[in-house]
């Protein structure tokens, strides 16, 4: 069993499964830095998963699926932003309400458009294909883990790197961090707080949309009811664990994805599947605890 833990198939699955969480987590990291507690991320992921499926189905083209997914992610973000930034609603309440309506909404649309319940499978839904990187396959162990992954997985890696650079090396990133640090100071620096909160929301929307696209179009080419199954929440906690740092958030995602991959691998063993499936959630809680161990000594009064 120990061999299974670090087998090529588990690690390769980890990389594959990390992509959607990582994309959403990097998006959430931008929200986190701008001090927007966006629990509605789950709804972004679910909605864009559906629209990505639809887009791919309509055009029989995975790329159009991505476009649909990203646009729907941005639209969801716009809804969230309108309520939270302009209508001054409580972000948590809005997030919860959006999550619930997204579930009902996607299921309704699924019924309206595909006339099925539970899940959609259609040959017209096209996934992204895997990419073989020329030199990577020569490297023995790592090559077989990293190579031949889905295009979206590589996109996710790219996004993590770009996000890290944008966050720390550009005026845009500086301003996002500033908004979260001290809004009044931001105002007096002549930078519109609202504008950059919106900007961070748009980034979150785009990336969460891409994350949603990963779910149906990363090979399985199907959409199921409530498909996100907490991926958005995982992403939010990853961003919190990483304190809004894209790279650190990504590392947290890898841990979650590893737990996910394990639960796939462990199903062959005699461990009950229900327990195995709880692994990602339990591990998320554990990681949150571990990263907060420092709080134990600090008596926060």
């Amino acid at each position: 069993m120990f061999q299974l833990l670090f087998s090529i198939s588990t690690l390769s699955a980890m990389i594959r499964l990390s992509a959607p969480i990582a994309l959403a987590a990097v998006g959430s990291a931008y929200g986190h830095k701008a001090k927007i507690f966006n629990i509605g991320l789950e709804s972004y992921v679910l909605t864009s998963a559906f629209f990505a499926t639809w887009g791919s189905y309509l055009f029989e083209n995975a790329m159009m699926g991505l476009v649909f997914g990203v646009v729907s992610g941005v639209v969801m973000s716009a809804v969230f932003g309108t309520f939270v930034l302009h209508f001054k609603s409580d972000p948590i309440v809005i997030g919860i309400a959006m999550n619930l309506s997204a579930w009902g909404f996607t299921t309704l649309l699924m019924y309206n458009i595909f006339h099925t319940r539970g899940s959609v499978m259609d040959s017209r839904i096209k996934s992204f294909s895997t990419i073989s990187i020329p030199l990577l396959d020569r490297i023995p162990f790592i090559g077989s883990i990293l190579n031949n992954q889905n295009a979206l997985v590589y996109l996710a890696f790219l996004v993590v790197v770009i996000a890290q650079i944008v966050m720390y090396k550009t005026p845009f990133g500086l301003r996002i961090r500033g908004v979260g640090s001290n809004e009044e100071a931001m105002q007096s620096a002549g930078v519109s707080v609202l504008k950059y909160k919106w900007a961070s929301l748009i980034v979150t929307g785009v990336l969460a949309g891409a994350a949603g696209t990963c779910l149906p179009l990363c090979g399985i080419s199907m959409f199921t009811e409530n498909m996100s199954a907490g991926k958005g929440f995982l992403a939010v906690s990853a961003a919190r664990i990483g304190k809004g740092d894209p790279l650190k958030s990504f590392l947290a995602c890898l841990i979650f994805a590893f737990a996910d991959a394990l639960s796939v691998g462990l199903q062959g063993f005699s461990i009950p599947s229900q327990l195995v499936l709880t692994a990602p959630y339990i591990i998320t809680v554990l990681v949150m605890c571990l990263t907060n161990l420092g709080e134990l000594r600090k008596e926060s009064v």
């Binding site: 209508f87 309400a97 809680v285």
Partner: protein, 365 residues
């Protein structure tokens, strides 16, 4: 002087009522659009909704049946939210409570007057025990309770399913429908108040819980402390409130009530535990609490409306083939609309028009 103040309050209440009214109208309009898009007549759907919720004794029974868990989970949410704790794990706590109550109902033999309370209390304690995890993590490690409870919800759903398997000795090949704990004995079942429906005396238990919590906040020192902790934690610590104990207490109380809700579902409508039985009941509570602005008595009112919507939605689906998820979408849209801070919105517009005026002034100069 006093009269003037009274007038002021009544005006804000009037505005508040107006806000709910307008939100309801908007929700109906959006609902009509969705129903139309499904190729059905909104009017027919509405008729079916009314028929299904209050149109007959059995319809009223269904309404009460669904209002009951809404009240209890709503109160569980109010207890937590009022003290500023985002316990979104009501659903998970409910699963544990329901499982424990179902086992207690089938495995123990007791006279009726004891059996039901024992089931409910065991359910409550199980919910409480599960709520203890996020509570202690928040207190000791400052783990965000919202995310923690969300994660634990998923875990609770899966874990209780596992427990059922373990308890019943099923293997994985079993059909999903068959997966359940044994039937609870009749001594552990609540009486039905409207024949041939699932409306049971659980409804009165639910109202009792709501009233007790209302009295707690209104008249007791503990209730005062709970409220202050929610509104200003620093002030409470400074004022000598043992916030750690209060904090744990709130979480446990909320968990206990959630567990009791699991218990009433078992002793009332269900009679045995099925995995994933509580489709969104916990979230209903969260929505209701936020609409009721954490007022325990308002929770009862909103929950009855919630029950009507749910009961009506079944009828609507049967007679007009409109998917009943429409109702769920509309419920959350209502939450969204009620969450709008109209006052802030108004101020914003005023400022905007001011800037515009200044610019016009400048151009004139």
């Amino acid at each position: 002087m006093k009269k003037k103040i009274n007038f002021k309050i009544s005006q804000t209440t009037r505005l508040e009522i107006l806000k709910y009214f307008v939100s309801a109208l908007l929700v109906m309009a959006i609902g009509s659009v969705i129903i139309l898009s499904q190729g059905n007549s909104p009017l027919e759907a509405l008729k079916a909704m009314i028929a299904g919720s209050v149109g007959s004794p059995s319809a009223i029974g269904t309404t009460i049946r669904w209002a009951t868990p809404s009240i209890i989970t709503g109160i569980a949410a109010v207890v937590a939210f009022k003290s500023g704790i985002w316990n979104c794990g009501i659903e998970g706590q409910m699963y544990f409570g329901a499982f424990a109550a179902a086992i207690a109902g089938s495995a123990i033999t007791l006279p009726r007057f004891l059996h039901i309370p024992v089931c409910l209390i065991i359910g409550g304690l199980a919910g409480m025990a599960f709520a203890f995890i996020p509570a202690i993590l928040k207190l000791k490690l400052n783990v965000n309770e919202l995310i923690c409870t969300l994660m634990l919800n998923y875990a609770a759903n899966l874990f209780t399913e596992y427990l059922v398997f373990k308890y019943m000795g099923f293997d994985a090949s079993e059909l999903a429908d068959a997966i359940a704990t044994p039937d609870m004995s009749q001594t552990a079942r609540l009486s039905v108040i409207i024949p041939k429906t699932s409306a049971t005396t659980a409804f009165f238990i639910a109202i009792g819980i709501a009233v007790i919590i209302y009295l707690l906040y209104r008249y007791t020192v503990k209730g005062y402390e709970l409220k202050q902790v929610g509104e200003n934690l620093r002030f409470s610590k400074y004022g000598g409130i043992n916030y750690k104990r209060t904090f744990i207490m709130i979480f446990l109380l909320s968990g206990f009530i959630s567990g009791v809700c699991g218990g009433t579902e078992m002793t009332g409508a269900f009679g045995k535990f099925r995995p994933a039985f509580a489709t969104n009941l916990g979230w209903d509570g969260v929505m209701i609490a936020s609409i009721a602005k954490n007022n325990p008595l308002a929770v009862i009112l909103i929950s009855i409306i919630w029950g009507m919507l749910k009961a009506g939605s079944f009828q609507m689906e049967r007679t007009t083939s409109t998917n009943r998820l429409v109702v769920m979408v509309l419920q959350s849209v209502f939450v969204l609309l009620v969450a709008i801070d109209y006052e802030a919105l108004f101020k914003h517009f005023k400022e905007k028009s001011q800037i515009r005026r200044l610019r016009i002034q400048k151009e004139e100069v």
